[in-house]
Structure formats: C-alpha cells, structure tokens
C-alpha cells in the first residue's frame, strides 16, 4: 500500500474529476440507448483520449465502462429492451415491475445493486489481481469448454413456462451463433448465398428484434390487462434496508459470481447476469416469484453484471489479455497512452494502477448518484400515451440496431428477429435462452473444437489430466439432472387453465 499516497496525488485533480463526471454521464446515456453500448461508447471517446494525460484518460474510459453496463438496465426496466446485452437478464423482473407501476423502485434496486456489485469487484481487483490472473491462465480450451457447459445450464433457470421450449430456444441461439464465417477454418456456414451473412448474425440487432420489437408488437396488438389505469409512479426510490437484508444471500452470491465470471475467460457480463439469475431462481428466498417483477431478480442480474467490470479488468490489466470486446477496447485506450497492459504493468506503473482503482471506486459511486438523479426524468417517459411512446421506442431501437456496426443488413436482422420472435413468443418460447445461446455459442464451439484438436479427437481425454474441467462438468451434470427432476415434479402439479404468454 506504499503506492496509495502517490496514487491519490495522481487522481485527486480537477481533470480526473471532470473525466469521471463526463464519462459517467455519457456512459449511462450510451448504455441506456438500445443497441449502442459499452464498446461503442468507449470507442467514441477514444479519439479524445489521444490528447489527454494518462490519468484523466483512464478515468474517462473506466467511467464509461462501468456506467454503460449500468445504463443498460434503465432501458431494460422502462421499455423491455436491454440497452446492452449485459442487461438482458434485467428485463425479466425489471420490466414487469415497471408495468406494475413500480419503475421508481425497480430503478432503485437496480442502481444500488449495480453500485454494490461494482464496489465489490473493485475491492477484489485491488487485493488480488495478479494472483487471480494466474488462476485465469489455468483455463485452457478444455476448462473453458466445461465452464461454458455449466454456464449454459442457466438456460433451464430462465425458461419460464416450459423447459422444453426454453431448451429449444437455447439450441436455436447456439445455432444462430454458428451462422457466418467459422473462424477456425475460414469456412462460411449457413449463408445461403447471402454475402452479408458471412459476417454472422450480429447479437445486438437480434436482441433489439427479440425484446424491443416483439414487445411493441405485443403491446399494440394484444389487449393488456389493466395497465392503462394503473398509477405509474415516477422518481427513484430505494427499498428499506430490511427488504435488502431479506435478499442478502442473492446479493452476495451475485457479486461473487459476477467477479469470478469476469475474471474467467470467454463468458462476459451477460452470462454472469444469467448465471446469477438462475442461481437466484434455484435458491433465492423469493424464487417462486422470480420473473413476475420480483426485486431479487433485479438484484441478481444487476449486482452480477456490474461486478463483472472489476473482474474483467483482472486479466486485462495483469495479463494484457482482455476477456471480452469491452475490455479489449479499454486495453486499446491504455496502449494509446503508451501504457502496456500485461505482466509488467503493476511493477512498471504502480501509482497509475492504484490510482485507477481509486477512480474505479469513485466511478461506481458517481454512477449511482447520477442514476438516482436522472430517474425522475426517465421514469416520466412511462407516462407518455402508449401510441406515442411505443413508436418512438421502435425508431430508437431501429437506429440502435444500425448504429452498432453501420451495416444496413442489421436492420433486416432486427426486423426478422422481431417478426419471428413475436410468433415464437406466441408459441410460448422464452427469449432469454436465445440470447444466452447466441452469447455463449461461439466460445463454446471454439473451445470444444480446440480441445478436440489437442486431444486428437478424443472427448474422453477431456476427463484425464484436467481436474478443473472434471469438476465443472460434474457440477453441470448434477445441475441438469436436478433441473429435469424439478421439471418432472412441476409437471405433476401444473393445473392452470390459461397459460400466460412467455416473455
């Protein structure tokens, strides 16, 4: 800790403070706008960092990073559209709360959970980055494959209604991820002669189609139950401590899951949120109410996805190996400053590193304050008449789908996903598993095939000499069996006369 004072000296200045404020505000907006998101937000800020000193430019990028992950939850709650893929699990309980008129509370839960998750992972990053980074290295292709297999079991956790439909949706997501160029062989798969498909199906437009478009279609063409007459509270309200204590286990678990998933390769914040969510669904105090607007679901997803931020910085800073596109862009920002992330970073730039950790903690706090301050204005949009609000959501979603990579083909992706997704919803297929499959698919396949190359094609060899993988695959097996047993038991009890439409 002898670096603490010089580090404080480095970051306690006007420029750094300004960078945090501007970065946080910008990050929240970019996260909340459907489609845009962390990577794009940092990229837009990159050119400005060229002419800035290292400390403020790192502060700017860190602020954008954590606040954009948080920002995604705002649109997830208010308009059923995860502003970023990281917030896909937030939709599951956040939006039902908003529909119920509790948008103020939902934002309160999400904001505080994000803050706690972010601070927790920052603390882990400060205390254990180099050692944890070595742990990340012990995950080769076979271990990563096993990890993702375990992560995929959360499909069962988020499949409301029917497990079979949820699994089918998950397979569909995994399959959609195989469309396009196979990075390993350079082969183009399932392009059906359409050249644009060679680039694969982009996640964000798909997400916008599946969530935003289907919701707009459903709201405008299916008579809703009572929502119109409900009082829609605006503002920002944090639940009393007692309510939080009732859900403390989920909160702690989600912080740990988020941080770990952030450190380990190949998964990312959206997966962390889904894993935490399905863990809450399995063991949370209010597990039976999850999915109907229960704050525990929000806590699980938001604490977890913001905990990823600190976790993901572990391998990025300590090894120079970014785990996902967001941290990859952040690493570019460091390289532009002439700072080389990697094994020597902590030894070469201790002040700057500890300074960044202080900044990261500050960013999380500023983020929560700004979120609370903006909530009254944001929740006000829910008071707009539906025939005005929903078309505007449509326009904003479409422009977001295009903005990600500037390819008109993505507009088509969003449109098709919206139309097909609507009919899937009608058939009782949940949307979340499709996203999980899409997110995990490429890493899952790549690591499976790499593992098979290393073992000369023998899957059985995965079980010898890879203790971590054996444990993870064992847990996966148990989770799957338990889920199937639970489903069979529920089937015995089911006796409703009308099935609600899945979301």
């Amino acid at each position: 800790m002898e670096h603490l004072l010089p580090a404080l000296d480095l970051v306690l200045n006007l420029n750094v403070g300004l960078a945090i404020l501007v970065g946080t505000a910008f990050g929240i907006v970019m996260g909340a706008l459907p489609g845009l998101g962390t990577v794009l937000a940092i990229t837009i800020a990159l050119p400005f960092t060229f002419s800035m000193a290292p400390a403020p430019s790192i502060a700017l990028v860190l602020a954008i990073y954590c606040s954009s992950v948080y920002g995604g939850s705002i649109s997830a709650i208010l308009i059923n559209t995860p502003g970023t893929p990281q917030s896909a699990a937030t939709v599951l309980d956040g939006y039902p709360m908003a529909l119920r008129g509790d948008a103020d509370k939902a934002l309160g839960w999400a904001t505080i959970a994000s803050l706690i998750g972010g601070l927790f992972s920052t603390a882990v990053l400060v205390m254990a980055a180099p050692r944890l980074a070595q742990f990340a290295l012990s995950f080769g292709p076979i271990e990563t494959f096993a990890l993702i297999a375990l992560a995929l079991t959360c499909i069962a956790g988020v499949s409301r209604g029917s497990m079979i439909n949820g699994l089918l949706a998950g397979i569909l997501g995994l399959f959609l991820a195989t469309v396009g160029t196979d990075t390993m062989t350079g082969f183009v798969r399932f392009d059906f002669g359409v050249f644009d498909l060679a680039a694969g199906i982009e996640l964000v437009p798909l997400l916008i189609g599946l969530f935003a478009l289907t919701e707009v279609f459903a709201r405008l063409t299916m008579p809703q139950d009572q929502t119109g007459d409900l009082e829609k509270r605006i503002g920002f309200s944090v639940a009393p401590l007692k309510e939080w204590l009732l859900r403390w286990k989920t909160l702690v678990k989600s912080c740990v899951i988020g941080t770990l998933v952030g450190i380990l390769p190949g998964t990312g914040a959206s997966t962390a949120a889904f894993i935490s969510y399905s863990e809450a669904k399995r063991s949370g105090r209010y597990r039976d109410k999850l999915g109907t607007g229960e704050p525990e679901g929000l806590v699980a997803s938001e604490a977890s996805n913001n905990a990823v931020t600190g976790g993901a910085l572990v391998p990025t800073l300590a090894l120079g190996i970014p785990g996902d596109p967001s941290t990859a862009v952040m690493m570019s920002a460091l390289i532009i400053q002439g700072i080389q992330p990697g094994v020597r970073l902590f030894a070469d730039n201790p002040e700057l590193m500890y300074g960044s950790f202080i900044v990261l903690a500050a960013c999380n706090i500023v983020m929560a304050v700004m979120g609370a301050a903006a909530a009254p204005a944001l929740t006000r949009i829910l008071r707009m008449p539906e025939p005005v609000l929903l078309p505007l959501v449509l326009v904003l979603s479409i422009v977001g789908a295009y903005g990600v990579r500037g390819n008109p083909f993505d507009l088509l992706t969003a449109l098709v996903a919206g139309i097909v997704g609507f009919f899937l919803r009608l058939c009782g297929v949940p949307m979340a598993p499709i996203v999980i499959g899409m997110v995990l698919g490429p890493t899952f396949e790549e690591n499976l095939r790499q593992g098979l190359i290393l073992t000369d094609g023998s899957f059985l060899a995965f079980f010898s000499g890879h203790p971590i993988a054996v444990v993870l695959l064992g847990v996966t097996f148990v989770v799957v069996v338990l889920a199937l047993v639970g489903e069979a038991r529920r089937r015995g009890e089911a006796s409703a006369t009308t099935a609600p439409i899945a979301g």
Binding site: L168, M184, Y402, L411, L426, R449
Partner: protein, 154 residues
C-alpha cells in the same frame, strides 16, 4: 388460440427447419478441401446442435398431439399484419431515403394508425424526435446513419 394447436405448428415447423439445415450442415465437409489436418470440420458442431434441435421439436410435436385445453391469448391479426407491414416498410425506406426522412414519415403514419390523432402532438413529435436523434448520432456520436440520395448528411 389453443395451446396444443400452436405446439403442433411450432413443433412441425422446427422439425422441418432442422431437416433443411441438416442438409446444409452435411455439405459443410471440410474433408473435401483437406486443409484442416487436425480437428473437426465446420459442420461438426452444427450437426450436434441439429440433433438436439430435432429431438426437442419432436417432443413439442408430441405434446401438441397429446392435446390440451390450455388457451393462449391471440393478437388482433389485422392490427398485427398492418403493424408488421409498416415496420417492414420503415426498415426498407431507411435504406432508400435515409434515416431522418423515413423516420418522420413512419411516425406521421404510425401514430394516427394507432389511434393517436391530435395533430398538435403528432406533428412536433414525428418531426422533432427523429431529427434530434439524427443530429445526436451524426454530429455528436459521429455515427453515420443511412442518408437520402438528395443530401450529404441527411
């Protein structure tokens, strides 16, 4: 709508789709290019997925055949058709006349179609919102949006 009918349609459609995709996946045999000396061909993983896909579709189909009295809320079909058609038209028109003009036109049509006809609200909303969005994207975020054939930036 009856739930079991939907299951029948959904299960059958997914099963047919799995069959069609299987043919495509079978053609993905890197063996005939022979450059991938080690490991599995690009069709390997998709074929596994399609196996699961077909099996699950079959379960859905059987569930539908077994019948059930569950009912699912149906949308208003004419409304749905017109909304989807309008959205599709909007997406297409963006590529033809640019984001800004297409969005203004879309909102000017959609709001009244949805039953909101107060011109004092419709007009400003439909014009100001897309233009503001366009301005923010193009000038502040520097994200280039599709442009019309008539101007450089809009």
């Amino acid at each position: 709508m009856r739930r079991d009918r939907l299951d029948l349609i959904f299960g059958a459609a997914m099963l047919v789709l799995a069959g069609l995709l299987w043919r495509e996946a079978g053609a993905l045999d890197a063996g005939n290019t022979g450059f991938f000396g080690f490991g599995f061909d690009p069709g390997f993983f998709p074929r596994i997925l399609l196996g699961f896909w077909a099996a699950l579709s079959l379960v859905v189909l059987l569930r539908g055949l077994r019948g059930s009295a569950l009912r699912v809320q149906a949308p208003s079909w004419p409304q749905l058709a017109s909304l989807m058609a309008l959205t599709a038209g909007y997406v297409l028109s963006i590529t033809l006349i640019g984001f800004a003009f297409a969005s203004v036109a879309f909102l000017l049509i959609l709001l009244p179609v949805l039953g909101y006809r107060r011109p004092l609200v419709v007009l400003p909303v439909a014009v100001i919102f897309p233009l503001l969005t366009w301005y923010v994207f193009v000038f502040i975020l520097q994200i280039i949006l599709p442009v019309s054939p008539w101007f450089d930036r809009i």
